[in-house]
């Protein structure tokens, strides 16, 4: 198995945060990231694997004004499992959070990006409610680590 096939727990991951103050705020000198900084229509937030982009966070910027934060794969996996219940309170699913490589190649208009990975739940979410918890956790992890590149 090559290093591209698995995201190891010690890997640093970059996440782009567009330069929009609705995605973060500064309180008492501390940057707090909004849970909405991890919005994703497919409920699989995108990240880039640092070791596959020369540990260069600028690789993750789409625009030079974008900010970039970093997360550690093991921290993401350690945020636990989340249970989803039906309306009668019966357990339907237990979701486990993982980070998997999803290299982008030959998918125009997207540029090729061998470092691309996704933060997913297994099995996949059936609704947004469970995904909200993941976003909350990712925002807290990002707040602990701060910026790799501040938006400008």
């Amino acid at each position: 198995m090559s290093q591209e096939d698995t995201v190891t727990d010690d890997e640093k991951l970059y996440r782009r945060i567009p330069n929009n103050p609705k995605l973060y705020t500064v309180e008492n000198g501390i940057t707090r990231f909004s849970s909405q900084a991890f919005n994703d229509r497919k409920m699989e937030p995108s990240v880039d694997r640092a070791k596959l982009c020369n540990n260069d966070p600028t690789h993750t910027q789409h625009d030079s004004s974008d900010g970039v934060i970093s997360l550690i794969a093991g921290d993401i996996r350690a945020i636990g499992t989340v249970e989803q219940y039906d309306k009668k309170g019966h357990l339907e699913y237990t979701h486990t959070i993982d980070v998997i490589p999803v290299p982008i190649k030959n998918q125009p208009p997207l540029p090729d990006n061998p470092a691309h990975a996704s933060i997913i739940a297994e099995p996949e979410y059936r609704n947004e409610k469970t995904f909200r918890r993941l976003k909350q956790a990712l925002a807290r992890l990002a707040t602990r680590r701060g910026w790799e590149i501040e938006p400008s």
Partner: protein, 189 residues
């Protein structure tokens, strides 16, 4: 000390005094005044009974504190109307008008509950939106996070006190103001 709830920019404002018994907390509706003589007499009397602060402080308080905080929040929510699809750079839909309307009416409701009914301090939420166009309010206090998702029909919450999504978070639907107040008390605890 008096605080003030502004319902609209410059037009009518309502004065509250959260430090006195509920029966006299709602003091008056009035337009912004320039001196204490123009204030409705009950307000001035109650002010004299409850504080020795000079009139300049009263005026600053009336024109400055919670009323302005709430007004800024309402303007912040209203500004969502101008946001395009993909405002977050991650393919979201534009904020939904009905959700924005609901969020504006809801913020008045919860501000009143916190500030007037429960006599607690109000904290301005961070206003944003999610991928589906719902309005999102976020508060952070020490290790407590409270996030509200406001759609056109309902208000849901996520509360978090750590990163473990199983043991340190809770979610649900807010179906009464008392339920929101319980969440608020938890947030600021």
């Amino acid at each position: 000390m008096f605080d003030v709830l502004l319902y609209n920019s410059g037009l009518p404002v309502k004065a509250y005094c959260p430090t006195v018994p509920p029966s006299v907390q709602i003091l008056s509706d009035f337009l912004p005044k320039t001196s204490h003589q123009e204030l409705e007499p009950t307000i001035w009397t109650r002010y004299q009974e409850t504080t020795a602060e000079p009139i300049t402080t009263l005026r600053q308080t009336i024109l400055g504190l919670d009323g302005n905080k709430l007004l800024i929040t309402v303007e912040d929510i209203s500004s969502l109307r101008g946001w395009p699809a993909n405002w977050d750079g991650f393919d979201c839909v534009a904020p939904i008008d009905m959700a924005i309307e609901h969020a504006i009416s809801y913020v008045y409701e919860i501000h009143k509950a916190v500030f007037l009914t429960a006599a607690l301090n109000w904290k301005t939420p961070h206003i944003t939106a999610n991928s589906e166009g719902d309005v999102v309010f976020e508060w952070w206090h020490k290790e407590h996070d409270l996030t509200l998702y406001i759609s056109d029909l309902e208000v849901e919450y996520v509360k978090a006190w750590g990163v473990n999504i199983h043991s340190e978070m809770e979610e649900g639907c807010i179906d009464s103001i008392n339920m929101f107040l319980d969440l608020w008390k938890w947030l600021i605890s």
